[in-house]
Every structure is written in C-alpha cells, then in structure tokens.
C-alpha cells in the first residue's frame, strides 16, 4: 500500500499543493469531500470564455506531468486553433491511465484530491471550448479509484459545479495503454495500441475531433494556477522548469512513497542513502539508470538530468538496494517491456525480444561473449523506428544499464554475481498480453 510522505508541510515552499497536508493524509480512508476541497483551495471560478486561461498557463510555464514535459499551453492552443479551423467542437481527456508499474502518483492524486483534477478538467474543457470530457484511469493495483471518482462526480452534480459532463473510462492494464494515441484509439472503440503520427490528435483525435489529452496531475496544477496565478506557481521549482511535481520514490524497503517536490530538488534528498557505487533509476522503465556518483551531482529537472542522458519522465526515483543485482532487475523489466510491445512495428517486434533474451543470458552468467555487442547493435537498430516511443524508451533503459552495471557484467561473465538477495526488487506485472482481447 502506498504511503504519502510524512514530510511536514514546508513553510518555505508551501508544499504539498496538490495532495492534502500530511495530517489529513493520515486518515486516508475518509473520502475527501467537496466542502473540504473548496475550503482549502477556494471555489472553482470559470473564465467565461475559451482561450482566456491559456495566457496564464503559458506565463506559469506548466509542462505536462505525464512524462513528456510538453508545454501545456501549446497543446491547449493547438486544440483551440484546430477547433476554430475545422469548426469542430473539441474533446478533452484527462489521462490517469498510469500504466508504468513503478509509478503510483496519478492513482494517489485521484484518490486523495479527485476534485482538484476534476476542476482542472472543467477549466481545460472551457479553455478549448470542449463539450465532452472523459477521465480515463488505469486498473488500480490497490485502490478502487473508480468508485471514489463516481462519488466525487455525484457530489459535483448535486452542487451544480460542472458545466461539461464527465464520463469515466478505464484503460486496459497494458504498459502502452496510457500512451496518448493508444488511449484515443481505445476510447474510440478500437484496441488500446499506439497509432502512427501524423495526424496529431490535437487535430484529429477521438472520433476525428480535435482532442486534448492531459495528464491528471497537469490538470490539478492547472486548476491551482487558475486560482492563484502564474507567479504563485513559479514560486517553487527552477526558472526553466517551474512548479512542483509528484514523485514516486522507492528506497530499499520497496514500498512506493508519493511525495510532492519542487522541480530541481537534489536527487540525494529523494534517493536516501546514496553512495558512489549505488544505482538509481530515474524516470521509470523508459528511464535511465544512474550510478550514485552521477545521482549525487544531479537534481530532479530535465536541464540537470540531461547531462547524464536522463529525464524526469513521470517522476519515478528508485534506489536499488545494495544487495540486489542491477542486471537481473534490468533483464526482468526488459522482458516485461518486450512482452508489452504492441507488436505493430517490425523493429520493435523483432528487436525487443532479442534484446530481452540476450540480457537474460547476461544476467544468468557466463553469457556468449557477443551477447553484449548484440544488445548494443539491436539497440541501435530499433531506435527511432517505432510508431511510438516504446523502442526508444526501452533502449534508453537498456543502454544506461550496460553503462551503470558494467562492472557487474564483468563479474557475471566470470560466473559470479554481487547480489546477496535473489528476489526481484522492481515491480513487474505477472501478466502479459497474449491475445487480441487483452488490448481492448
């Protein structure tokens, strides 16, 4: 079960902004009600017409918190423009289909602050002039997020807050189902697998309508910027990457901890006991392994992480316990990623299983001498050649593992392994897609 960080509300940063302050988070089972939400954040004020919120979002510098960090105002503007150009009413989708097994921040946000997300969804719908709003969630591993959202929507209906009716939807429990085009395909009645771009979904998305897909955390930030303004938003974070973000942090005990941090926080403040020979995974399973020496010098923002070829992604920071083997963990995750390929694109379909098999060989010890060069060659072959970023993200993870665990590879070639504990640490769902029904 996820625990919300016990760090007290910080007087200097005013965090947490999105999650309830720790005192009330302790009584997590009590459903957050609309009155408490309005008392803390103020009432939801509409802007009166489309477009007017976009300038504030641009001034705030809010970027998408689903992983890609794309500027939110640019997507809003693109959808508004496409709607005007094509005279078609757009659709807004709140993306809570958090399919990264290592992340739990979106489910936690929906569980603890559903009204903030729903406020943001209404404001985003107004900003682009949408008349349809959908909130898509993932099958939750631990909580019944769906019924909490139904309760929240019922309370809002009774209070007459929402101008656009909100439909709830659930994405299948697949790694790629939260990917924008996959989600749109699923909601259009098709399989939850990625599509080839162009056309962009901001132009032609759900049933051909201009479509805004925003991560649920992005929408919660948007709802607060609308109330408190861009300057307030920028009072934490860095100049280039302002604001706060939710991070899923796993330390040696393995339990995920959701914490709201300013962009630019030193990794050492999140990762716990960091030594030069530690290994830290930043950005999740499409992310990057860093060694402790790198992690000690970096902060959680894209400008800093780029120095090591890493990215913030959806805010996953995992410290590998010292008694586990990074190669075994990597092989296990890459096997999962290979099985989660939608199998649509040749290079991904052919390359990922081969990479996974070679990594399993390396992790098992005394691999063929060419196993590592095979992995390197196949990694180059699949990069940039998928309709989505699944091959690129997988390869980023694989290459960083080869680098970070280079000494461990040598050890394994000699038939040894430094790990004292052979249990897997990184969470990997047991099931994988086997039939076409698994995608729908």
């Amino acid at each position: 079960m996820t625990t919300v960080t016990e760090d007290s509300r910080d007087a200097a940063t005013g965090l947490p902004r999105l999650l309830p302050p720790p005192a009330s988070a302790a009584g997590e089972t009590r459903p957050p009600d609309l009155d408490a939400h309005a008392a803390r954040h103020g009432r939801l004020e509409y802007r009166g017409r489309p477009g007017t919120l976009i300038g504030d979002i641009e001034a705030a510098g809010l970027t998408g918190r689903g992983g890609a960090a794309f500027p939110v105002h640019r997507k809003l503007q693109a959808v508004l423009d496409a709607a005007a150009g094509r005279r078609r009413t757009p659709v807004v989708i709140a993306n809570g289909a958090e399919s990264e097994p290592a992340s739990d921040k979106d489910a936690t946000l929906l569980w603890l602050s559903p009204h903030l997300v729903l406020d943001g969804l209404q404001l985003a719908a107004e900003a682009v002039g949408a008349d349809t709003a959908i909130l898509a969630t993932h099958v939750s591993r631990t909580r019944d997020v769906g019924s909490r959202l139904r309760e929240a929507l019922a309370a809002r209906r009774a209070a007459g807050i929402d101008r656009v009716p909100v439909q709830l939807a659930q994405a299948p429990a697949r790694f790629l189902s939260g990917q924008e085009t996959a989600l749109v395909s699923h909601l259009s009645g098709g399989p939850a697998i990625p599509a080839f771009i162009p056309p962009r979904i901001t132009e032609r998305g759900l049933n051909g309508a201009p479509t805004l897909v925003q991560n649920v955390e992005s929408l919660a930030h948007l709802a607060l910027i609308a109330r408190r303004g861009p300057r307030w938003f920028r009072s934490v974070g860095t100049d280039a990457e302002p604001g706060s973000m939710l991070a899923t942090v796993r330390r040696s005990d393995g339990q995920p901890k959701i914490t709201e941090v300013p962009l630019g926080i030193p990794l050492r403040d999140l990762a716990g006991d960091l030594r030069p020979d530690s290994a830290v995974l930043v950005g999740g399973y499409h992310g990057t392994w860093l060694d402790g020496r790198q992690a000690l010098a970096l902060t959680l923002d894209n400008a800093s992480l780029a120095q090591a070829g890493a990215r913030v992604g959806a805010g996953v920071v995992i410290t590998l316990p010292r008694d586990r083997c990074g190669l075994v963990e990597t092989a296990s995750v890459v096997r999962y990623l290979a099985l989660e390929s939608a199998g649509q694109c040749g290079p991904c379909l052919n390359g990922l299983p081969r990479i996974a098999a070679a990594l399993a060989e390396i992790a098992g010890g005394r691999a063929r001498p060419q196993a590592v060069t095979d992995v390197t060659r196949w990694s180059g072959l699949v990069t940039g050649r998928g309709a989505c970023h699944h091959p690129d993200g997988t390869v980023r993870f694989v290459r960083s593992a080869l680098q970070t665990f280079a000494a461990e590879i040598d050890l394994h070639q000699r038939g040894r392994c430094s790990a004292a504990d052979t249990r897997l640490f990184l969470p990997v769902p047991r099931v994988a897609a086997r039939t076409e029904q698994d995608w729908t």
Partner: protein
Amino acid sequence: MRATETAVKLLVNPIDCAAHGACAELLPEAIALDEWGYPVIDPGPLRPSLERPARKAVSACPTLALRLIRSS
C-alpha cells in the same frame, strides 16, 4: 534554388510496413534493410536525382507504407 523549399524525404509508416523489401530493391542508394528485412532510411533530405526512383519505390510498396513528404 533554396534546398529547404524543395527538399523531400522518405517516411515509412512502421505499422503498415510488412518487410516486403521492394523499396530497398528499387532505391538502394537511400534505403537499406535491417537484419529482419525492415527498411532503414537514410536520414536527411533525399538527393534531387533520387526523387524519380523514390516515387517508384513509393508506388511499389505492397502495403502503401512508404511516403514521400515535403520537409520544410
């Protein structure tokens, strides 16, 4: 003539591509096949002299996965 105005490049839709390999046969100057038979396209704009064979390669693709697009 400004190259940016007329530059075209090849784009393969990796979902539609089924590794028939006709493109690489007709346009080996710009398209190679990987070890599984899928096309690897030279990055960057296409040489103007290759435009005509490129159009042939596009129309020869059995799954219509290859496109010639204007790159600005």
